[in-house]
């Protein structure tokens, strides 16, 4: 059984972001980590291997000079090997090019289950997992919170607007991990050392047969809306509540 995990390296959530003068670029504090949801995906791969008995687990990441932090974390957690798609044309690339690159490698390596995170914490698009599935011509179940593997099929649970769905799909399949699916293990010393020493093969977009097409260009950046300083409403609960209702109804007219 071959298990692929798609991982992305993202800025640490606490990393500082500033808009550069002129609003045409971003200044990002340089602290990068394995995307939270992808960390869960790596754990899911490790747990899947445990339940089946044995499997080969490989992780893939795509970026322009980025991805090694994510891949080393996957190795440290227990992935057997990793592949880095490293190409200048991945700079600012949208989900289409990234998905084509990842699908290209996964197709080449072989796959029975492909795990990915539900979304990344920086871009939050959640497109790559299902786009890779579409490019591979296989099904995708997004937002998985529980998984059972029965031979060549899987039964998974996921949360939807309507409630908890239990679905079945045959392998091969892409499964994207939701918070709560597993708690990612903390790498142990042996894993960390193995990750630091590992040789990571690099491939370019051309080598996986991907033609880089221009993604939509950013024309400018802006700040989130800034609110006026808060207006505090005085009084005990009943007075403040009464005044609030009056404001919302008569002045702001939002109720």
């Amino acid at each position: 059984m071959k298990i692929a995990v798609l991982v992305k390296e993202v800025p640490d959530l606490e990393a500082h972001v500033e808009i550069a003068a002129g609003g045409t670029s971003l200044i990002l504090e340089k602290k990068r980590v394995l995307n939270y949801f992808d960390e869960i995906a790596v754990e899911a791969a490790l747990q899947a291997r445990q339940s089946i008995g044995s499997a080969e687990i490989y992780a893939v990441s795509a970026g322009n000079g980025t991805g090694m932090e994510a891949l080393r974390r996957a190795l440290a957690m227990g992935a057997d090997r990793v592949i880095h798609i490293n190409d200048p044309d991945l700079e600012g690339a949208g989900p289409l090019v990234v998905s084509q690159a990842l699908a290209g490698v996964v197709k080449r390596e072989g796959f029975d289950i492909v795990f990915a995170g539900k979304k990344s914490t920086d871009d939050e698009a959640g497109m790559v997992g299902p786009m890779v599935a579409a490019l591979l011509g296989i099904a995708c179940v997004q937002g998985v919170t529980a998984l059972q593997i029965d031979g060549a099929a899987v039964t998974v649970k996921r949360e939807t607007e309507r409630g908890t769905e239990t679905v079945q799909a045959s392998l091969p399949v892409v499964l994207t991990a939701e918070k709560g699916f597993y708690t990612p293990r903390v790498p142990q010393v042996m894993g960390i050392m193995k990750a630091m020493k590992a040789e990571v093969p690099k491939v370019s977009l051309a080598e996986v047969g991907v033609e880089a097409v221009a993604s939509p260009q950013v024309r400018g950046y802006s700040r989130p809306k800034v609110r006026l300083p808060v207006k505090m409403i005085e009084g005990v609960a009943s007075q403040a509540a009464s005044e609030l209702v009056r404001l919302l109804r008569d002045e702001v007219k939002v109720i």
Binding site: L13, V17, I19, L26, Y36, G94, P95, L96, T121, D122, D123, E124, A125, G126, M127, G129, P130, M131, A134, I138, A139, Q142, E159, E161, R162, G163, T164, E165, T166, V167, Q168, A169, S170, V213, A214, P216, V218, R219, G220, Y221, S222, P224, K225, R227, V230, K231, M232, I233, V236, A237, S238, A240, A241, S242, L244, V245, L248, V252, V254, I255
Partner: protein, 318 residues
């Protein structure tokens, strides 16, 4: 060259977000000199007369095995039609369904995909599409150039103007699709609100300051009085008082209602990123220095357990 909107039913009408997309498509289409097309699939084609005036064309995709929503077969039906028409822009709602269909469309059409879209405009030969980046710390405006694009739009981003197109052409297209590869075996319905949290016009959210699971009913009472939905902070989910599905924040849902009332939440960045585009924010916290007040328009320093029922009461009485 047209702007296409993939419609989504909600009960016996289309969802509010569908109407928002159609409205913005008409507005931007007029500026771009493009027509608008609404696509309806399967059993939802039965509602197509609701779309009169909303788009220039309505396309109903039908097949014997296209009934209720199924991601695989619906995606195949849509992609077949998209391939024939090559729309310049395809709009999806940011909903469970949108997130299943949009990636399939983008992959099949080899289109760029922009998600969490909060604004759509036309300028000088291209669409300008804005969305949050870096976890919402900044907004980026993209130019789509000449290429086709898929956009997944956040609810409550556009106003709904009356649909005044004189004559809407409705076409039914029989398609032939394979059954979906994923089978739903069981659905355990969620109790509670009918409005998905991300679409609600009013959200009442509680945090650690609610003190105990049973107090969450105070959130429900106020939400009901306002016709809104209930959200919770990560602390409440971690404490086991509510499930993750109602969580507002970084690892939960992003909401953008007209009114967001938040009680007993400190206002850490993890939470505020999930709600800071709400139009009006009211914060309630016992700590006058709580960070949440920096993200609020109105604030009440007080105990959530007293203030929330007081507001519910004031609504009923005033």
């Amino acid at each position: 060259m047209a702007i296409w909107t993939v419609c989504e039913a909600r009960g016996n009408d289309f969802s509010p977000t569908t109407y928002e997309l159609l409205s913005q498509a008409r507005k931007v289409g007029a500026e771009a000199g493009m027509e608008t097309v609404a696509v309806v699939v399967g059993v939802e084609s039965g509602l197509s007369d609701r779309l009169n005036g909303q788009a220039h064309q309505v396309i109903c995709l039908k097949a014997g095995n296209l009934g209720n929503f199924d991601a695989g077969s619906w995606a195949e039906a849509l992609c077949g039609t998209f391939s024939e028409a090559s729309p310049r822009l395809i709009l999806f709602s940011d909903s469970d369904r949108g997130r299943e269909l949009a990636p399939a469309a983008a992959a099949n059409m080899k289109y760029a995909a922009l998600v969490n879209v909060t604004s759509l405009e036309w300028d000088d030969g291209q669409f300008l599409i804005t969305r949050p980046v870096c976890g919402g710390k900044a907004y980026a405006t993209y130019g789509t150039g000449e290429s086709g694009c898929v956009a997944v739009v956040r609810p409550n981003s556009f106003s709904i103007e009356p649909g005044e197109i004189a004559s809407t052409l409705v076409q039914t297209v029989e398609v032939d699709v394979a059954p979906g590869k994923v089978t739903v075996v069981e659905l355990t319905p969620r109790e509670g609100g009918k409005i998905p949290l991300t679409e609600a016009q009013v959200v009442v959210c509680g945090g650690r300051g609610m003190k105990a699971r049973e107090n969450l009913s105070l959130l429900e009472d106020l939400a009901e009085a306002l016709g809104g939905a209930v959200g919770v902070s990560r602390a409440v989910v971690d404490a086991g008082w509510a499930d993750h599905n109602n969580q507002v924040g970084k690892s939960g849902k992003t909401v953008s209602p007209g009114l967001y009332i938040v009680a007993g939440v400190s206002g850490a960045v993890h939470h505020t990123m999930g709600m800071d585009t709400s139009k009006v924010v009211v914060a309630i916290n016992t700590d006058a220095n709580a960070a949440i007040f920096r993200f609020a328009d109105y604030g009440i320093v007080g105990n959530a357990l007293e203030v929330l029922p007081a507001i519910t009461n004031a609504l009923r009485v005033q």
